[in-house]
Amino acid sequence: MMKGSKKSGAYYISACIFVLLMLCIASSLYYSALKIDYVWRWYRIPQYFVYQDQVEIRAQMEGEVESIRIKGKNAVIRIKGKEETERNTVPASGIRVDEGDLIYPGDILATYQKWRIGILTQGLWLTLKVSFIAIVFGILIGLFTGIARLSSNPALKWSAVTYIEFIRGSPLLVQIFIWYFVLGTLINNILVKI
């Protein structure tokens, strides 16, 4: 604050010490894990963000592959059974059957790979969704409650105070349990009855 704005050598030495400290912490975590025979497998993590899912298109009836017509990237497989025909639209690159093959229910007609969102990303998305919806309602509730809190009307003011003190005085976890196990059971059971 009172020293010169010129950065002395001591400043850069301290900066290096900081970087060194961070590296030490990171590596000591890494190596202590190895010491207790923990196998680091970072390569297993990306699949929880996105992964390629193997999708199988199966036949639902018994019959014979009547025709495979390719239209652009997709193909239409027609299976002719005793009474009816089944048409499946599949990506052309993954077809596993030929014209004339005998098909039984459950047989794989085509497979293809599709990129799917992993669990972690799904969770992140849900976190964002939930937080956003909650903040919107929270702001509305808070706005009205805040104004009621300042009102001179005791019904409004004390209701607001009661609500605020209950919520601020108890843990969120307990409130979640009350919402789900008490209010939730009540509301859902009443809805069932209706």
């Binding site: 009172m2 020293k3 010169g4 002395s8």
Partner: protein, 244 residues
């Protein structure tokens, strides 16, 4: 006692540069009372704050009692112990009584035993006329009383030079007199003083020399007689015509 050679100070905030001090050279001899005058923004506060390192001059040298305070190897705390400062906003310690304010630094910095510090402290409080308020907290005092305590606090360290940064500017008019009286007594006793002030009467009565600053530079230096009755520079004349 204080030898200032070619100091400059530039403040940089965001993208604007303010040249607060431009190549200032000044000398203050022991026992001298030097009053620094000038319009606001002239750099007088910056100048006096540079003298005890509260603002750090970008270049030049400031030698106090033979020690260059701009030298990084200097122990600035030792120098500051010999340079007393009185602030415009008093800056008394609100959590300590008047007596504790005065005795804190001697006990903690000079390691003076408490009894002796208290004795000397009470003597100082008597000197500034506040001894009956020794066990009172600063917030119960008037501005003038607080400033007198601040002067006693600075004197407790037995400094070789006292710096005053607009000591009466924050006071109601009726309290200015009591503080100026204390300062006049101090001057009479031979204390080396550098005073930034708007109180022309004080300058005329007590100053040995007057330094007039404008826009970061020293415009004119002279004795009070010369300065007030026969100034040389145009800007000095302009300033005086606005003030007097």
């Amino acid at each position: 006692m204080i030898d200032v050679k070619n100091i400059s100070k530039t403040f940089v905030s965001h993208s604007t540069e303010v040249k607060a001090l431009v190549n200032i050279t000044a000398k203050i001899d022991p026992g001298e009372v030097v009053v620094v005058l000038g319009p606001s923004g002239s750099g007088k506060s910056t100048f006096i704050r540079c003298l005890n390192y509260l603002n750090v001059a970008d270049e030049g040298s400031i030698i106090i009692n033979g020690i260059d305070i701009l030298d990084p190897k200097t122990d600035i705390n030792k120098v500051r112990a010999d340079v007393g400062m009185v602030f415009q906003s008093f800056n008394l310690f609100p959590h300590k009584t008047v007596l504790e304010n005065v005795t804190l630094a001697p006990i903690v910095v000079r390691k003076v035993p408490k009894q002796e510090a208290v004795k000397k402290g009470m003597a100082l409080l008597k000197k500034v006329g506040i001894q009956d308020k020794a066990d009172v907290y600063p917030d119960q005092l008037s501005g003038g009383q607080q400033q007198r305590v601040a002067i006693a606090r600075a004197l407790a360290m037995e400094p070789k030079v006292m710096l005053f940064d607009e000591p009466t500017s924050a006071l109601d008019p009726e309290m200015v007199g009591e503080v100026l009286d204390v300062m006049k007594n101090l001057a009479r006793e031979g204390m080396t003083m550098v005073v930034v002030t708007h109180e022309m009467g004080f300058a005329r009565e007590v100053a040995d020399r007057v330094i007039f600053m404008d826009e970061g530079a020293i415009v004119e230096v002279g004795t009070p007689e010369h300065f007030f009755s026969n100034p040389t520079h145009e800007r000095t004349k302009l300033f005086l015509s606005q003030i007097l």
